[in-house]
């Protein structure tokens, strides 16, 4: 029982799930709305959500979902009509940020109040994983259609474990337990408050002072200290986050594989894990994060060897290389990594100019190729590796995540893997992809890191799955 207050660093932006692509929104979406298919707590399996069960046709083009008896928080039943409407809406609505991803849907029809039939334009193995996106939540058609443009987003109605009482912008979102939730019996909390506390120090002081029950996104630097506080529990949940260094393959010497390889050799990831993550992270070696589907644990790990790096550079005729390193301003860890990498590369004879820019600008610079190297991170939205693989290696419109990496074999393999239904064969394909990418040094994997949250001692079962969903319907406040 009780109301769980959670301190986070940013406010939600909207309650219309199709109009956001941000984690801050997703966290609350999954409290308030429900999806047809969910990803389980371990982040490795799809489990029933609003859909009790589903079948996939032989050709992989028709998905039939059987909906359970569930109600929206206002007491109206959740129907297949609502589900169909929501899917078509995310695909077609002008304001949807997800249209592209859902273009694969051809039709979505409610054949009866509890049956939803979705037909795809083409085969897509990751499709089911996409149904677990909070953005594809099932919304009450009547309310969304009837409402003026932004009223629903202010005062939403969903079928999740909690419903929105009040949104005080910039301050907090107040949720209360939804008695009409289909699994309401299991929900222990009376309500949840998501508080906005942007400053890291304040957020940590807030929980130390006992003014909130939980604080999320704990900076690595604060963990050791919080752990010494007996009143607090520091929780480290596995995530799909991977930090990596992008390399612009089109810039001069960086086009040469040997040069990129030298950079990989010259960067001491262990030192970064130590200094920037305080040993909370783990050295990364594959673009598929550890613990994720098809992660290849035996992938190549280049040792830290500045001497060899120097030699490789010399051989490639790139001694005295000078690189322009775009750093995201205002990100504590990113700035720390930049300072470390600058010194490490200097040991291999590479001169690095740090160029700190505001994060909104760094996107543009990366997209336009105005950079040599830059550190970015990725967390998976969906369980299936296809999404990230396509972005990173699939040669789509993003120039392989702005790296301008080109390998046609890889490109073909990414497409094939998307369509492969046999899990064993699919895994083999992804292992190959991971090896090839590493061999080509498409980028430099730096580290994997967990989600680190902290709660007061009386809070139990406060967990996040690797995709970032909080399972507050299970959380207990004693």
């Amino acid at each position: 029982a009780g109301v769980l207050s959670i301190a986070r660093n940013e406010d939600s932006t909207t309650f219309d799930p199709i109009k956001s692509a941000q984690n801050v929104d997703n966290w609350v979406f999954s409290n308030v709305f429900d999806v047809l298919v969910r990803v389980d707590a371990s982040g490795t399996q799809l489990v029933p959500g609003l859909a009790e069960s589903w079948t996939i046709s032989e050709d992989g083009l028709t998905y039939t979902f059987k909906l359970r008896d569930a109600k929206f928080s206002d007491g109206a039943p959740v129907t297949a009509e609502d589900a169909a409407y929501s899917l078509i809406r995310i695909r077609d609505d002008k304001g949807s940020l997800w249209s592209d991803s859902f273009k694969i849907i051809d039709t979505a029809i409610a054949t009866d109040p509890k049956t939803l039939v979705v037909k795809l334009k083409g085969k897509s193995v990751p499709f089911l994983s996409m149904m677990a996106l909070p953005n594809a939540s099932v919304l009450p058609k009547k309310l969304v259609e009837g409402a003026a443009a932004d009223t629903f987003a202010e005062k939403p109605v969903g079928s999740g474990a909690f419903s929105v009482v009040e949104w005080r912008r910039g301050d907090r979102i107040i949720l209360k337990k939804n008695p009409n939730y289909w699994d309401a019996g299991k929900v222990s909390l009376d309500g949840v408050e998501w508080l906005v506390i942007p400053d890291d120090n304040t957020r940590m002081l807030k929980i130390q002072a006992g003014e909130v029950d939980a604080a999320i996104t704990v900076p690595f630097s604060r963990v050791a200290e919080l752990k010494t506080n007996p009143a607090l529990k520091v929780i480290s949940d596995p995530s799909t986050r991977e930090d990596h260094m992008l390399i612009n393959h089109e810039h001069g010497a960086l086009a040469k594989k040997e040069v990129r390889e030298a950079l990989d050799l010259a960067i001491d990831k262990k030192a970064i894990v130590e200094a920037a993550t305080f040993n909370l992270g783990e050295v990364a070696y594959s673009y598929v994060p550890k613990g994720s589907l098809y992660h290849y644990a035996d992938n190549l790990q280049r040792p830290y060897d500045p001497e060899k790096a120097k030699k490789l550079l010399a051989d490639a005729g790139a001694s005295g290389l000078t690189l322009n390193y775009v750093v995201n301003a205002g990100k504590e860890t990113d700035e720390q990594i930049a300072v470390l990498v600058q010194q490490q590369l200097a040991k291999a004879g590479v001169n690095v100019n740090l160029q700190k820019v505001d994060p909104s600008q760094s996107w543009d610079m990366l997209v336009n190729g105005d950079y040599d190297i830059s550190v970015m991170y990725w967390t998976n939205d969906i369980l299936d590796p296809d999404q990230k693989t396509t972005f990173v290696l699939g040669h789509d419109t993003n120039m392989n995540y702005m790296t301008r990496y080109k390998n046609d074999e890889v490109k073909a393999l990414v497409e094939a893997a998307r369509l492969e239904t046999d899990p064993v064969k699919r895994e083999a394909m992804y292992v190959t992809l991971q090896k090839t990418a590493k061999g080509d040094v498409n980028w430099i994997d730096l580290y994997y890191s967990p989600y680190i949250n902290v709660t007061r001692g009386n809070i139990e079962k406060f967990h996040q799955n690797p995709l970032g969903r909080f399972f507050l319907e299970e959380t207990v406040k004693n």
């Binding site: 890291d200 120090n201 900076p219 630097s221 604060r222 050791a224 200290e225 030192a271 130590e274 200094a275 750093v327 301003a329 205002g330 990100k331 504590e332 700035e335 720390q336 930049a338 300072v339 470390l340 600058q342 010194q343 740090l354 160029q355 700190k356 820019v357 505001d358 600008q361």
Partner: protein, 274 residues
């Protein structure tokens, strides 16, 4: 008003202020000689060390020596204070003097411009300009100059408006001196006192604006040692390693203290008050 004790005390304040400022200038000039370490040298083995004989002010999370960074930081911060005040002072003085002396439409237009800049949220201007030009010292200076001149212009303009009717100004005109001569030889030298005093507190404001910008993530480029950014970055380690923020914080305070003492003394000497 001319109490006999005040000049003595004024001198003491001035000397104390100058000594403090001089100390910093000296430290900045002699930084490579007196700093015990390279300010950007990272020593993985000596991370987050508390103050000791080896590191009198401790080390930061990269194992860099705080004292050395402080000493080298003096170069950047003094430069920030100097440039951050100098350009606004010069620009503001010239514009304010011209507006005040010419009056009429020139004055009206310039005053509206000043009104707009004054009404403009300082931070929007600062952040936008820095975002446009990219973070770094030169953007900071440009932003400071674009925003900061306004105060000086207002000060000077007000002075000139009064002084241009002063007898000696009218006398200068009556003797056939040219406008430029009257303005720049006779009026300006007599009106800058207030601005010079204001300079000193403005220098403190510049440093603090720099620190605020650092806090918002747009400060100088790493790994440059600068006090504001040291404080801002050190916040992450506040409870484990207080020394990372305390010493640069104190450095800012001491420098500010020096500036305001000089300002006080100048103000008293020149008979101006903010």
């Amino acid at each position: 008003m001319s109490a006999a004790v005040s000049p003595k005390r004024m001198n003491r304040t001035l000397v104390a202020g100058l000594v403090l400022l001089g100390g910093f200038v000296l430290a900045a000039l002699a930084a490579p000689l007196i700093a015990p370490y390279d300010p950007i040298f990272q020593d993985a083995a000596a991370r987050l060390q508390p103050p000791s004989w080896a590191h009198p002010f401790g080390t930061d999370n990269f194992g860099r020596d705080i004292l050395s960074r402080l000493i080298f930081g003096a170069r950047v911060d003094l430069q920030m204070a100097l440039i951050g005040v100098f350009f606004p002072l010069v620009i503001g003085t010239v514009i304010g003097a011209i507006a005040g002396y010419l009056g009429g439409i020139v004055d009206a237009v310039l005053m509206r411009l000043i009104d707009i800049i004054l009404a403009f949220p300082f931070l929007v201007l600062m952040l936008s300009i820095i975002a446009i030009l990219g973070p770094g010292l030169s953007s900071f200076y440009i932003a400071m100059a674009l925003v900061g001149w306004v105060s000086y212009a207002r000060l000077i303009r007000a002075q000139i408006l009064v002084l241009k009717n002063a007898d000696y100004a009218v006398a200068a005109v009556s003797l056939g001196f040219s406008r430029t001569r009257v303005l720049f030889r006779h009026l300006l030298p007599n009106s800058v006192a207030g601005s010079l005093v204001f300079c000193m507190s403005d220098a403190v404001l510049v440093l603090l604006s720099g620190a605020a910008i650092s806090y918002l993530g747009l400060g100088v480029q790493p790994p440059t040692a600068e006090w504001g950014i040291m404080v801002a970055e050190g916040q992450a380690f506040l409870s484990q390693a207080w020394w990372i923020t305390l010493f640069p914080g104190l450095a800012i305070v001491l420098l500010a203290f020096g500036f305001s003492m000089i300002g006080d003394a100048l103000g008293e000497a020149m008979g101006v008050h903010e």
